[in-house]
């Protein structure tokens, strides 16, 4: 399984099909056997009806034929069930491995790589988008195979029964796929548009909901209702455009097949009147004729499954193509404690954009609180992202050394990160903390919370550590969330602690407390904080002041006064 997931080919449709080749093969093979049984079934039925109606056999003489009819039917039903289930298995296999593969990829892309994407759109692609692949693999592909097997088989049988009918079927059959391919091409272009609409609708609704209170405060929530309806109407119109083509295709398909069957019937009718063919032959061929066209009909009904899958795959491939800025998750292998981080001539930027950091060099040592300061847009956050390994450097080098001066690869650093606005997962406070250390007992949690200065706050809550936090920690203030995240980081005893505006949202007393605890945490650790607040700056052992991506001599202490 592991090997399969690493297979780079899985992010294309053919790759996915290869992945589920075995169940798919079983589904198609069994489908072929079912096709043969269908012919047997219809042959028995035609023979029975002919015997009873035109050969004056009593019903009791038909036991053998009736038994074989029912046996063939039973066998066909059972095998068809197996074939369908094999198809389902193939679909499930493809969907689940692709989803897992994509999630793993997103972790390697990291938050910086995803910054331009919309969460709602990604989530829709990961859920609904991937789900559209299931009907494609489970139903469309076996049907596409059946479209070849069953008509050929029937054509062969009919050729042995009646020349005229063979001629009619052989001429009309191939017209249909040709026609469908012509129409399908146009439908595909429309489907692509509709898929974008669907994604837009999905992410715009998440956005409208998350911003519902803001919309109300602007007095615009009521208007948003009509926008939501408008989006749904737009969705309806573009869907119906595709549908109209699809329905017209199947109507034309049905017209062709009806025409062919009627032709077969009329040609038979005339010859039956003159007694040139037996009723058995006529009835048998007429029973088979609709089945000749049925796979085509079923295929055209699931044709949109292919279109959905191809459209979804375009979007999924775009996600797959995002560069893996972050690489694999940091390794948890034990390494010698990190004593110094040395940055030399760092230069980096986003995408194809200009450099955001220009030839920056700095050293961060343990036991010292290093503070990075500067105006917004000066490159503070970018420097932090480099240190955290969220994005690669364009040139320059970041190296970590242990006390003896031996290098430690960046992946092996144990880093704790406290962002300015961390995202808390749904769950209790204890769950939040245990994200970093799932086996930590309550004593460990208490110790870490106390180090982060948040223990009293937690214990004063009615439910203590079992208090629920909402999405984005809706029930907690920004300062409390950050202190929780600090406690969480401390659970793993990190060698490097990185803070982004640790005292934002805090009143002066709490800010002073947090700044003091950050200074204490620098004992035996490398601690780096972005801040421009005097409470943190005044405790810094080293201040790096950034302007336009370069280090500048430390500002005058005006702000700290």
């Amino acid at each position: 399984m592991q090997q399969i997931m690493q297979d780079r080919g899985t992010h294309t449709l053919p790759g996915l099909i290869r992945l589920s080749a075995i169940p798919l093969g079983v589904a198609i093979g069994l489908g072929g056997v079912c096709a043969a049984l269908l012919v047997v079934q219809m042959g028995c039925l035609a023979r029975i009806v002919d015997d009873l109606a035109f050969r004056s056999h009593p019903f009791s003489a038909e036991h053998a034929l009736i038994s074989s009819l029912l046996a063939a039917t039973l066998a066909r039903c059972l095998l068809q069930w197996c074939a369908d289930m094999a198809g389902e298995r193939a679909g499930i296999l493809a969907v689940s491995s692709l989803r897992q593969h994509l999630f793993r990829h997103l972790f390697r892309v990291g938050p910086v790589g995803l910054a331009g994407e919309e969460t709602g759109a990604i989530a829709t692609a990961l859920t609904d988008g991937i789900d559209t692949l299931h009907p494609y693999i489970a139903q469309y592909l076996p049907r596409a195979a059946a479209m070849v097997v069953l008509p050929l088989l029937i054509l062969g049988v009919v050729a042995g029964l009646d020349g005229w009918s063979f001629l009619i079927l052989a001429c009309t059959g191939p017209l249909i796929p040709v026609f469908m391919a012509l129409v399908g091409f146009r439908a595909q272009a429309m489907m692509d548009r509709q898929w974008t609409q669907l994604l837009l609708l999905g992410s715009s609704f998440l956005d409208s909901l998350q911003g519902l209170t803001t919309l109300r405060l602007f007095g615009r929530a009521r208007e948003r209702v009509s926008l939501v309806i408008q989006m749904a109407e737009g969705h309806r119109q573009s869907t119906m455009q595709v549908m109209r083509v699809a329905f017209l295709t199947s109507a034309v398909l049905e017209f062709f097949s009806s025409l062919a069957i009627a032709l077969v019937a009329i040609v038979f009718g005339a010859r039956l009147l003159t007694g040139h063919v037996t009723f058995y032959t006529a009835f048998f061929v007429l029973l088979l004729a609709p089945e000749y066209f049925a796979p085509l009909r079923a295929f055209s009904a699931s044709y949109h499954a292919r279109q959905n899958a191809v459209s979804a795959m375009t979007r999924l491939s775009a996600l797959m193509a995002l560069p893996e800025l972050q690489g694999d998750a940091p390794s948890s292998l034990p390494s010698a404690p990190l004593a110094t981080i040395i940055c030399r001539d760092l230069r980096t930027g986003y995408g194809d954009g200009p450099d955001v950091l220009l030839s920056l060099s700095a050293t961060f040592g343990s036991d010292v609180l290093s503070v990075i300061t500067g105006a917004s847009g000066s490159g503070k956050s970018t420097l932090i992202r480099l240190l955290l390994g969220m994005m690669p450097v364009r040139s320059g080098k970041i190296s970590g050394l242990d006390e003896a001066g031996h290098p430690i690869p960046q992946k092996a650093w144990k880093i704790g990160w406290v962002p300015q606005a961390p995202t808390l997962l749904d769950g209790t406070i204890a769950d939040t903390l245990r994200l970093a250390a799932p086996d930590a007992d309550i004593e460990h949690l208490r110790k870490a919370a106390s180090l982060a200065g948040v223990l009293t706050f937690i214990e004063n809550l009615p439910d203590g550590f079992d208090t629920k936090v909402g999405e984005h920690g809706a029930a907690l203030s920004g300062g409390e969330i950050r202190r929780l995240v600090l406690a969480r980081a401390l659970l793993t005893d990190p060698q490097v602690l990185v803070f982004d505006e640790p005292t934002a949202d805090l009143d002066p007393e709490n800010a002073a407390r947090v700044a003091a605890s950050i200074q204490r945490l620098a004992q035996g650790r490398i601690v780096i904080a972005i801040s421009h607040r005097p409470d943190v700056l005044s405790r810094a052992g080293q201040v790096l002041c950034l302007r336009d991506g370069r280090l500048v001599p430390e500002m005058d202490k005006g702000i700290a006064a």
Binding site: L45, V49, A53, F54, F59, L70, T73, L74, C77, L78, W81, D84, S96, L106, F107, G116, E118, A123, T127, L206, D207, L209, Q210, L212, T213, A221, E223, R224, V225, V228, I229, A232, R236, T239, E254, F255, A262, A265, F268, L273, G275, T278, A282, F283, Q326, P330, S376, T423, L424, P438, G470, A474, V485, A504, D505, L506, D507, N510, H532, A561
Partner: protein
């Protein structure tokens, strides 16, 4: 009222379209029956005539039944095409009706969405559930209605030729039409519920995981998160597999029973033929008619599943839309003066489910034009004061008068006409900067926008962006820096020119100089505004006339801190 009848009532605006679709569907189904029935007779009749010799051959009129066959074939094609167009269009129209309806219901419940439900769930509910509810008339109702009408008519037609055959068919059709969906329904509903739960969990987790990617990775929880997602996937796959097993088994059972019944019909018809109650040509006709009638009921088990799915979705959507709104929002509100003042007396506010009140006997009076700062430790309910004023949180005791009007008679909508709120949790919408400014003030023209951006000190930066006002803000303002996003929010408020400003930690995330400049620019642009500023930082306070400290749910006067040297 049951979920079903409520859902039906919501689809009422499209009743005409849905009935039209139903009639067309019946027409298509009956035409199919007629086609097979008649062609069986045509063929057998011709064969019988052929066997009878020249005399009967000349008597046999091939023209009439052949015309009938052509007629039925044409009707089938046209009716099916029209039916598909009409029903799919109607279903999508139902979806947009449901989306609008549920969004409207959620507006007064917005504070609940922030705390109680994960927005990933909401997205799943809204997009997925309204979709399924919209498909409900097409996927669940239509097959049952068509099966009931068409199989009755088919059986009646068969009864014209042979009563025993008709009875046998009525029996088996009833068995399949009524009993099978009922029998298969219960286990399917159960599996579907578990499946829906796993799907919800997967979706909510996907949203969360994508949002918190960095936090998860730095907790070393990547592998564990992937494992959990895989576990959801496994239970999802298991449910899907079981559902498929039942559906396919039901479909094949119907096919087998159909053939079994056809054999029975042939037996009964052969018996009638022997007793000369039936002609030879009618036997193949009845056999084909029987097979056609079974096509009418083959869609019932998937329809039963669709019904279960739709009801599950309806239950969740209705549950969400029926939560009591935390604060009543009156439709008609008294007019507010242009420059309202505020009087709060002895106000107590406690959140539902919490015993400790956040505000306790709080009194405050703010004159029009005054600038009041509120400070206090974090978590003391400063923000609740703002939420109370905007009718987002309900107070239990005391009285609040805004512009001489009892606050309880006002709504958030009315208040938004007078009060501009810059809060800690402001939300920028996806789309361009222009789009976000339009949300704040739909009538603003280009010049007004630039003026507001200039007042918020954002114009130079935006002019430097290649797309200018059309630069995409990105989700949660990702493409703008924190400071830029904040200044954009300020520009939004300046555009609205409110008489009141409610500022909740307005300078958070900014350098002290930038914070000072931000407040300065906001108050310079709106010099006459009455200000209530909730903060713990010193910069905004220098602009205030007086400062109060919130402690233990009550306000106490404080001195204004010294002006920090710029």
């Amino acid at each position: 009222m049951s979920d079903l009848s409520r859902l039906l009532r919501l689809t009422r605006p499209l009743k005409g379209m849905l009935w039209l679709g139903f009639i067309l569907a019946c027409l298509a189904s009956l035409a199919n029956f007629g086609l097979l029935f008649l062609s069986g007779w045509l063929l057998a009749g011709a064969a019988a005539a052929g066997l009878g010799g020249i005399a009967t051959q000349n008597l046999f009129n091939l023209f009439m039944p052949a015309a009938g066959v052509r007629f039925f074939a044409t009707v089938r094609i046209l009716a099916r095409y029209a039916e598909r167009l009409v029903t799919h269009d109607a279903a999508l129209r139902v979806v947009s009706v449901l989306r609008g309806w549920s969004f409207e219901r959620l507006i007064p419940r917005s504070p609940l969405l922030e705390t109680r439900h994960r927005s990933g769930d909401i997205l799943a509910r809204f997009v997925g559930d309204t979709d399924r509810m919209g498909q409900f008339p097409l996927d669940a109702l239509l097959p049952f209605g068509v099966a009931a009408v068409c199989s009755t008519i088919s059986v009646l037609i068969m009864a014209l030729f042979s009563v025993p055959v008709a009875l046998l068919m009525a029996l088996t059709l009833l068995l399949i039409g009524a009993a099978a969906p009922f029998l298969a329904g219960k286990p399917v509903d159960r599996i579907m519920q578990a499946y829906a739960k796993a799907a919800d969990a997967l979706r909510a987790d996907s949203v969360e995981t994508v949002q918190a990617l960095g936090d998860i990775a730095f907790c070393g929880a990547t592998e564990r998160t992937l494992k959990r997602l895989e576990a959801y996937q496994t239970s999802l796959s298991a449910g899907q597999y079981r559902l498929a097993a039942i559906t396919h088994a039901a479909r094949q059972s119907v096919a087998f029973i159909g053939m079994l019944t056809a054999a029975g019909v042939i037996g009964l018809a052969a018996n009638a033929l022997q007793h000369h109650r039936l002609s030879a040509a009618e036997l193949p006709m009845l056999a084909l008619g029987c097979l056609a009638a079974f096509e009418q009921v083959s869609g019932l088990i998937p329809a039963r599943q669709a019904l279960g799915r739709a009801m599950l979705s309806a239950r969740r959507v209705f549950a969400l839309c029926d939560m009591p709104p935390p604060v009543p929002q009156p439709e008609r509100t008294p007019p507010l003066p242009l420059t309202p003042d505020l009087t709060m007396q002895d106000v107590t506010l406690a959140y539902p489910g919490s015993h400790v009140p956040v505000l306790h006997g709080l009194s405050l009076s703010v004159q029009a034009g005054e600038r009041v700062g509120i400070i206090g430790p974090s978590g003391e309910g400063k923000s609740s004061l703002g939420r109370l004023l905007m009718r987002l949180a309900e107070y239990q005791r005391g009285s609040v008068c805004f512009g001489g009007v009892d606050l309880r008679t006002l709504s958030t909508q009315t208040l938004s006409g007078r009060v501009g709120v810059l809060s800690q949790t402001f939300h920028l919408q996806q789309g361009s900067i222009r789009h976000n400014l339009r949300i704040a003030c739909p009538d603003a023209d280009e010049n007004e926008m630039w003026a507001a951006l200039q007042a918020a000190h954002l114009d130079t930066e935006i002019r430097a962006m290649t797309k200018g006002l059309d630069t995409r803000v990105g989700e949660h303002g990702v493409c703008l820096s924190g400071g830029q996003a904040r200044r954009l929010a300020v520009a939004q408020i300046i555009l609205r020119r409110p008489a009141w400003l409610l500022l909740d930690e307005p300078t958070e995330g900014l350098t002290p100089e930038a914070g000072q400049a931000l407040i300065g620019s906001l108050l310079m642009a709106l010099p006459a505004a009455t200000v209530l500023c909730i903060t713990h930082r010193p910069e905004p306070l220098t602009f205030m006339n007086r400062v109060l400290r919130l402690e233990n749910g009550q306000l106490h006067p404080r001195e204004i801190p010294a002006h920090p040297t710029p």
